[in-house]
Symmetry: C2
Subunit: 231 residues, 2 copies
Amino acid sequence: MKGPEIEAAWHGLASCDRCQIHDLVLFADLTPEDFGAIHLPIDDLWLPPGAVLYRAETAQPALFTLREGLVKLEQYLPDGARRIVSLIGPGDVVGLEAMLGAAYEHDAVALLPSKLCRIPTPVIQRLSDKLGQALMRKWHDSVRNAHACLRELSTGAARQRVARLFLRLAPPEARRCRLFGREDVGALLGVTTETASKTVAEFKRQSVIREIAPNLFERDLAALTRIADGD
Amino acid sequence: MKGPEIEAAWHGLASCDRCQIHDLVLFADLTPEDFGAIHLPIDDLWLPPGAVLYRAETAQPALFTLREGLVKLEQYLPDGARRIVSLIGPGDVVGLEAMLGAAYEHDAVALLPSKLCRIPTPVIQRLSDKLGQALMRKWHDSVRNAHACLRELSTGAARQRVARLFLRLAPPEARRCRLFGREDVGALLGVTTETASKTVAEFKRQSVIREIAPNLFERDLAALTRIADGD
DNA sequence: CGGAATCTTGAGGAGTTTCAAAACATGTGG
DNA sequence: CCACATGTTTTGAAACTCCTCAAGATTCCG
């Protein structure tokens, strides 16, 4: 049931102070001196789609910042049903539970090619007074993200959910967005793979979306918004 | 659409050090000296069902600990659809976003008669080094709770969701549990009020549950578990 | 004892799932 | 470069679930 393990590529050591998305991430408020005090390696990772970042029930003294791409957090019900409980986008942090010394609670898997930083928890702890608020903001983001997934992606008819997903896949100013496999779309929206596929196909026929390349779409934002709010 | 505002009853000042659920709450690790350092009033509140603890978009420099009862956090979609995104039980903290100086993000409303403490955020901030881990644990609980609501209460057929709700309404050792209004059951499970009502009625006919008194049920845990895991 | 909610029930229809098969894509080895 | 195997996406038809609408029963409260 679980796919083959795909190894992450180690990309090198990160230079946080020259990070592209500097103000999005955890270390936004740090001074150059603070960076000097980091004595543990912050690894730079690249994951292809389907690659596993970590598995539930495992533990590492590290959390991750997503710089680019898209990651899913999935959990399983006692009856084996699989559900994606959160979509992680650029700037978000994954694996915050490591700060409590706890095991990870989800499978974290890349949905699109993704770049991440692996930050050892001792680094965070050492800078904790500097980071206090920023860290809490990331917790806050996790809660908000979870509530948004419930509110927007698990409520209403299937076509509304798919529409809201397309609106969520890229910022409003971007016309194009990239989608992932239909099985994952289903597990995220709480519908079957077939319903996910049929709905996406229907949107294509109605030119609410247009498929430029495999799983790369151009969106009609007005039409999508209309559908998202109930036809 | 929103019900009438029901005022909370102010119950008195809390004595945290003699709290009934002492080890569940935020202040579990504090010493008597720490309690002495609290110079802001920690109010003791009692809410009847339907009473509003706070509204979304409003702000107070305070968070709340639920000692007894059940509270819902609800949000609205652009199209007006209402959704309960989290169920708050005894020991849980509500309104953690106040720690970031932000406005509340949900309507928080009592589902059952509830007892809470109102803790001013400066109290937490003053004790922050003592509380660091405990506070983070509460954030963690919030995320876990949100994911559990998505995973168990918004996945699968309606009868599975209702069964999982009944299993969640009280600890496994308790035979009886109390339920709230059908409209709220629907908003929590992502089904209509009618479906919620029909499913509860069906469970009664099949004696999976037995109604002792209005909205007080005796549960057949084995049967509920069987249904929850897919018939 | 009304009157207003809330809960229950029913019938019909829309939407989703299920099952099965075909179309398409991808990667491997000949 | 093609043939083939594998996996994903699409499509269709039938069964089923859930929603909609409407009405009746029940509870709650003034």
